[in-house]
């Protein structure tokens, strides 16, 4: 026994060494191949007389961008123009994720509803949207949006300062006026008080067993105080109305048809997938649990909130993480309907500059970063809803 024990040590060590050595060699091979690819690419670019490097990012862009979140004009740099595209991608993805989730949950719940008509409508929606290429959905939404709206000269006036036309929706832009600072401070205090009340209600219920409507009470506190503050500070928010002049509306906030079509298309498409995730989540909860809760006389809302949802989420969240990532990647189809997202603007930069490798690397880096962040957030959320096994 003793001999074997001593003898096995160097054997084990050798095994470990061999394994380390092999892993090191594989790693070196991968790095080596990557380096060779990089070097030959550089060499080929040089032979073909194609410029490389990122110096172009500081050069003047000179390209037009129709829809930008930040101040932009063509004398800005390529790097800045690309940033405008990244922000547009982020905006449309973030909004689409929020609304697709809301719609998706509604569709998923409708799918398992006892109401025959509702369930069938949801099923038809899911099967149609899920089985059509997103590009077709986008073209369809865009042409329907454009075809159904009037020329800006004959814009539909929704209310004073609200116009709907082929140029998109124009709204009054909120402008801060005198007393705005005080108003904001007051609103913050109102929010704080509302949250304190909500938390107190929860604690009170745990202590005494008597239920106090914490959420609605808090909301009422916030609403009342905020309205009072608005009146007291003498209407601190003004508005800049859009005006039709020459060919187009000037001033105000604009929601362009390209943005709207992309957003609607992404929401409709992704909600179909999320709806299926929600349905599978709900159906994964054993019917016996719901029946048991009902038998105890627990109200329907509480059953949904405390029995059904926490368990359904365990199945729903991992699948939905994938759909969020797909949604972000799908937003690159913006280029087909003229929305200036990162891919559209990057494509223009390639056309003007010819430096495709750099731009494609930047696209990949941005998409990778966004999706890794989504994945991280969803994993944290997932960890919180999973069963903690003791």
């Amino acid at each position: 026994m003793k001999n074997t024990y001593i003898g096995s040590r160097p054997g084990l060590l050798a095994k470990k060494l061999v394994s380390l050595l092999l892993q090191g060699m594989v790693l070196a091979a991968v790095l080596g191949v990557a380096y060779i690819l990089f070097a030959t690419t550089q060499e080929n670019l040089e032979i073909r007389g194609i410029e490389s490097g990122f110096a172009f990012l500081w050069r003047e862009a000179g390209l037009p961008i129709g829809d930008s979140l930040i101040e932009y004009d063509p004398s800005r740099s390529y790097g800045y123009a690309f940033l405008v595209g990244v922000l547009n991608t982020l905006l449309v993805s973030a909004l689409a994720i929020v609304f697709a989730t809301i719609l998706g949950v509604m569709v998923g719940v409708a799918r398992v509803s006892n109401n025959w008509l509702l369930a069938k409508c949801a099923a038809i929606y899911v099967e149609t949207l899920r089985n059509l290429p997103l590009l077709l959905t986008l073209f369809f939404v865009y042409s329907v949006v454009l075809a159904s709206l009037p020329h800006p000269r004959e814009a539909i006036v929704l209310a004073e300062g609200y116009f709907l036309s082929k140029r998109g929706v124009y709204l009054p832009r909120p402008v801060a006026e005198e007393g705005f600072g005080i108003f904001v401070a007051a609103v913050c205090i109102a929010l704080l008080l509302a949250v304190i009340f909500w938390r107190w209600a929860g604690a009170y219920k745990r202590r005494t067993g008597t239920s106090v409507p914490g959420f609605w009470g808090g909301l009422a506190i916030f609403g009342t105080l905020a309205t009072l503050a608005y009146l007291a500070s003498n209407s601190p928010i003004g508005s800049e109305l859009p005006v039709y002049k020459g060919f187009n509306f000037k001033g105000g906030l604009a929601l362009k048809p390209e943005f709207a079509a992309l957003l609607i298309g992404l929401i409709l498409y992704t909600a179909a997938f999320i709806g299926e995730n929600v349905r599978s989540g709900i159906q994964s909860v054993q019917a016996g649990q719901i029946e048991a809760a009902n038998a105890l006389g627990v109200s329907r809302g509480v059953v949904t909130r405390l029995v059904l949802l926490p368990q359904a989420l365990r199945v729903t969240i991992p699948a939905t993480t994938n759909d969020y990532a797909s949604l972000v990647k799908n937003s690159s189809l913006a280029v087909a309907i003229g929305y200036p997202d990162m891919v559209s603007i990057g494509g223009t930069i390639i056309g003007q500059n010819g430096q495709a490798i750099e731009i494609i690397a930047m696209w990949m880096a941005v998409y990778l970063t966004i999706n890794l962040i989504i994945s991280l957030v969803m994993n944290v959320l997932n960890a919180r809803v999973q069963v903690v096994e003791r």
Binding site: M25, A29, G32, V33, I36, L37, T40, T41, E43, N44, L45, I47, R48, G49, I50, E51, G62, L63, P64, I65, G66, P74, S75, S143, L146, A147, H151, K166, R167, K245, G246, F247, N248, K250, P257, E258, V335, A336, I337, G338, P340, S344, G347, T348, I350, G351, Q352, N353, G354, A356
Partner: protein, 337 residues
């Protein structure tokens, strides 16, 4: 040891596989028996597949002329439709042998994007089209307009330059494809459409009521359109350049598709004799056969015939700048001798 030997072998393969094969496009095309020619995804008059799938247009005929000169067969062309932003990259990376696709000759493309331009086949300029009932007669009145255009071209740069120089505000809606941009304009999303004037004329013919749209008189840029080849293959560049000059020279000398055979046999004009290979061997100077221009002209005709067939007959475009230098235009072929 074995794995390191494998690694070395793999390295060799990768190096060989990625080594540039730039020189010798002429030999490559002869070996393949076919010319890979980059064209547009559909611009009437320049390169556009007809209802039978046959590519028509001035740019497509330039591809055929090069194939006829190199392979003796104008049909040996593989047309590769390229999106605007691919047109330079496809040729610099060797995906196509030649791009003949309404591409503007600019210093940046020539100098820093790995391509060489050959000879100008069409002198164009960017213009604006707007609905006739807008009551606009000059591009300098285009303030606060929304303009539809396509990405990946010099069009965007020209438009913003023009707007900045004239203190105009123009809002751009930039599309990936020409068709989407034209449709968005037609549906009223934009007030104006901007691209090369020749293409505006081409697209206008496709509208339900062409007379409801006007092309404004201002030409805001110089757009010399030329076929392009990969940078560094001088022989191939010479071949394409001289085929284009041959087409132009043939018009100047009056050699047509109909009379080329007769001219080759009987013409007493030394310039014609040299060009058609009846005396001397001009084709041999760039690595082609001596009857290179006979093959080209009997296949597609001279420049004037190509222009008439593709641009005048269908789109009603005048010769304008694209007339021979002897007729007040800019076409001036270098002497073939």
């Amino acid at each position: 040891m074995r794995s390191s030997a494998k690694f070395a072998a793999m390295t060799a393969v990768m190096l060989a596989g990625t080594s540039p094969t730039l020189a010798g496009t002429l030999e490559d095309v002869r070996a393949a028996g076919e010319l890979a020619c980059g064209v547009s995804e559909g611009v009437p008059g320049f390169s556009n597949a007809n209802s039978e799938g046959i590519w028509e247009g001035l740019d497509a005929d330039v591809c055929r002329a090069v194939a006829a000169a190199v392979l003796g067969d104008a049909g040996a062309v593989r047309f590769v439709p390229l999106a605007s932003k691919q047109k330079v990259l496809a040729v610099s990376s060797g995906q196509v042998d030649l791009t003949s696709r309404t591409t503007t000759w600019t210093m940046k493309r020539d100098g820093a994007e790995g391509v060489d331009f050959t000879a100008v086949v069409y002198y164009d300029g960017q213009g604006f089209m707007i609905s006739a009932d807008a009551g606009i007669s000059s591009a300098t009145e285009l303030n606060d307009v929304t303009v539809c255009l396509t990405t990946g071209t010099t069009t965007e740069l020209n438009m913003t330059d023009f707007a900045r120089a004239n203190n105009l505000t123009m809002e751009a809606v930039v599309f990936e494809g020409k068709r989407e941009a034209v449709e968005a304009y037609a549906s009223g999303r934009c007030d104006a459409l901007t691209t090369d004037s020749s293409q505006l004329a081409a697209f206008r013919t496709g509208f339900a009521d062409p007379s409801a749209h006007v092309i404004l008189p201002e030409v805001i840029s110089k757009e010399p359109l030329a076929p392009l080849v990969a940078h560094g293959d001088n022989q191939w560049k010479d071949v394409v350049t001289w085929v284009v000059y041959g087409l132009i020279e043939a018009e100047e000398l009056g050699v047509t598709q109909a009379n080329v055979a007769d001219m080759a046999a009987n013409s007493g004009n030394p310039s014609i004799q040299r060009m058609l290979g009846s005396s001397g061997d001009t084709g041999g100077l760039v690595g082609l056969g001596s009857t290179w221009m006979v093959d080209v002209l009997s296949a597609v005709g001279n420049y004037g015939e190509i222009y008439e067939r593709n641009l005048t007959a269908t789109l009603g475009l005048e010769r304008g700048l694209n007339a021979q230098w002897t007729a007040g235009g800019l076409l001036y072929a270098m002497p073939i001798r």
